[in-house]
Structure formats: structure tokens, C-alpha cells
């Protein structure tokens, strides 16, 4: 039996929900970025599953681009975190409440 697309979509939805919960509930900048990565992976899985459903390769090419963009985003996000850490010695996003320091 080939796995029906529905099963892949449910797995992706679960991963997306867990990632979203991670982004909303955590205080450390790094953990929030991890949640974002999890959500991106869930979306990638959805794209590939639907690509197969329609019999096209476009879903997979899309995922290729999403991976590249995610890599760029993580690099810049972590660089921002390191710069913030140098200023205030903590990566707690609750303490990021001033517009200039």
C-alpha cells in the first residue's frame, strides 16, 4: 500500500502545531528559531505531498527554494541573537523591550 497523501498531511499538521506552540511558549530566542525551523519543515512536507498528489515536480523544487531561504534566515537570525547577547548578556526575548540602548 502506498501511503495516502492524507497521512503525510496529518503528520505535517502535527509538526506545524508543535512548532507553533514552541514559538509561542518559549522565552529563549534560540528556541523560538527552532520552532520556526520545525514549522518550515512541516510546510515542506506538505508541499512534497501535494506535489505527488498532482503528479508534478514543482512541489519538490519549491521545497528546494524554501530550504535555501531557511538557511539564509537562520544565519541572519542567529547573527542577530549573538549581537543582542553581546549587548545585554541574555537572549531572553522578554528583556528586548527597549527601542534603543
Amino acid at each position: 500500500m502506498v501511503i495516502p497523501t492524507t497521512y503525510h498531511l496529518i503528520l505535517a499538521a502535527l509538526l506545524f502545531a508543535i512548532g507553533a506552540a514552541g514559538v509561542l511558549l518559549r522565552r529563549s530566542g534560540i528556541s523560538i528559531l527552532l520552532g520556526i525551523e520545525l514549522m518550515l519543515n512541516a510546510v515542506n512536507l506538505t508541499l512534497v505531498a501535494f506535489g505527488r498528489q498532482h503528479g508534478q515536480l514543482d512541489g519538490q523544487v519549491f521545497v528546494f527554494f524554501v530550504m535555501a531561504v531557511a538557511a539564509a534566515e537562520v544565519a541572519v537570525g542567529l547573527a542577530l541573537l549573538v549581537a543582542i547577547f553581546r549587548k545585554q548578556q541574555s537572549i531572553d526575548v522578554d528583556r528586548l523591550n527597549v527601542m534603543r540602548w
Partner: protein, 189 residues
């Protein structure tokens, strides 16, 4: 010129395709692999967002990436499965681990001290995901079509064909990210 070079390689795709179809065409192995990979993915994702030690979070996410790569392989996207491990597990998460170690990120207890609005937001998200899952189950009758073999050759043809502009733009984006990251962490002496 490019198409001439690409067409001249001697190894035809047909034998490759039939092997792929034969191996992914059915069987109890694929179902078992999917359920194991799915269960491990969900469990390690839960660890990734709820454990207090940030190093354990990153390592659990590595396990999740592996399981997603297994799912790509089941869907026929073999190039993406390898790229997933190469890019996500082998580069992006290594970068995460480096930053966690260099900043000595503190262990936090997110489950014990969420802020009030977060409980509402968290519950709403879970409900939305559940509702989405139910809607998908009820309306989408997935007929399970055969996997679309996503070999490197075919994805390459798409990249230099219809998606050429996006491909070049992404390279510029990566260059911008590289320069940006270096500028952000530069120490001003």
C-alpha cells in the same frame, strides 16, 4: 549549449524509474516505516520544544529532520531527502548547536512558567491544528498516486528551466545573508 551537454550523458533514466516504482510501489514495509518515522518525528518534535536543556532541543530537532527526510524518500523525493540531511541536519542545526554552545544558552522551564496570554494562544493553536486535521480527514480522499521520482537530474532540469530566475535570485539572497551575518557579528574595535 546547456541542453546539448545534458542530453549527451549516457545513462538513461528509464531503468532508474522502474527500479524506483518497484521498490516504492507497495508493501507492508513502507507502511511500517512511515508509522515508525512519523511517531519518532512527533515525539522528538515534542522534546525539541519542551525540554529545558537547549542542546537536547537541538539534537531532538536533528532526529525530527531525519524522520522528515525518511518521509521525503517515501514520497519519491530522493534528492530532497539527501539535501534535507545535508542542509538542515548537517549545516543549519550545526550552526544552532554552535550558537547554543558559544552563548552558553541557559536552561529554561517553559512548561512551568508560561505567560497568561500564551496559554490562550497555545490552546487556540492546538485547537486550530486539530480542526485542520479533522477537516483534512473528512474532505480529502487521498487516492495515493504513485510517487513522483525526484531525482537530481529532473530537479536540475526544472531549476535551469522554468525556475531559472528564482534560482539566480536565491544565490543573491544567500550572498546577502552571508554578508549580513558577518556584518552583524563584527566587533567594533
Amino acid at each position: 549549449m546547456c541542453s546539448g551537454v545534458v542530453e549527451s550523458h549516457r545513462f538513461s533514466l528509464d531503468s532508474r524509474l522502474s527500479t524506483l516504482d518497484r521498490n516504492l510501489g507497495g508493501g507492508v514495509m513502507e507502511t511500517a516505516v512511515f508509522f515508525v518515522a512519523g511517531a519518532v518525528a512527533v515525539i522528538s518534535a515534542l522534546f525539541a520544544v519542551s525540554h529545558r536543556d537547549p542542546v537536547v532541543n537541538v539534537l531532538s530537532l536533528v532526529v525530527t529532520m531525519f524522520c522528515v527526510a525518511v518521509n521525503y524518500a517515501l514520497l519519491g523525493a530522493s534528492f530532497l531527502a539527501a539535501a534535507q540531511i545535508l542542509v538542515y541536519a548537517g549545516a543549519i542545526l550545526v550552526l544552532f548547536l554552535f550558537v547554543v554552545m558559544l552563548l552558553n544558552a541557559p536552561a529554561e522551564h517553559p512548561v512551568h512558567e508560561p505567560r497568561p496570554f500564551q496559554r490562550v494562544a497555545g490552546t487556540l493553536t492546538a485547537l486550530a491544528a486539530g480542526l485542520g486535521g479533522v477537516v483534512v480527514l473528512l474532505t480529502f480522499h487521498g487516492q495515493a498516486p504513485p510517487p513522483v521520482p525526484g531525482t537530481a537530474v529532473q530537479i536540475g532540469r526544472m531549476l535551469v528551466g522554468p525556475y531559472f530566475f528564482a534560482f539566480e535570485l536565491v544565490s543573491v539572497l544567500l550572498l546577502a545573508a552571508l554578508v549580513g551575518a558577518m556584518v552583524l557579528v563584527k566587533r567594533k574595535h
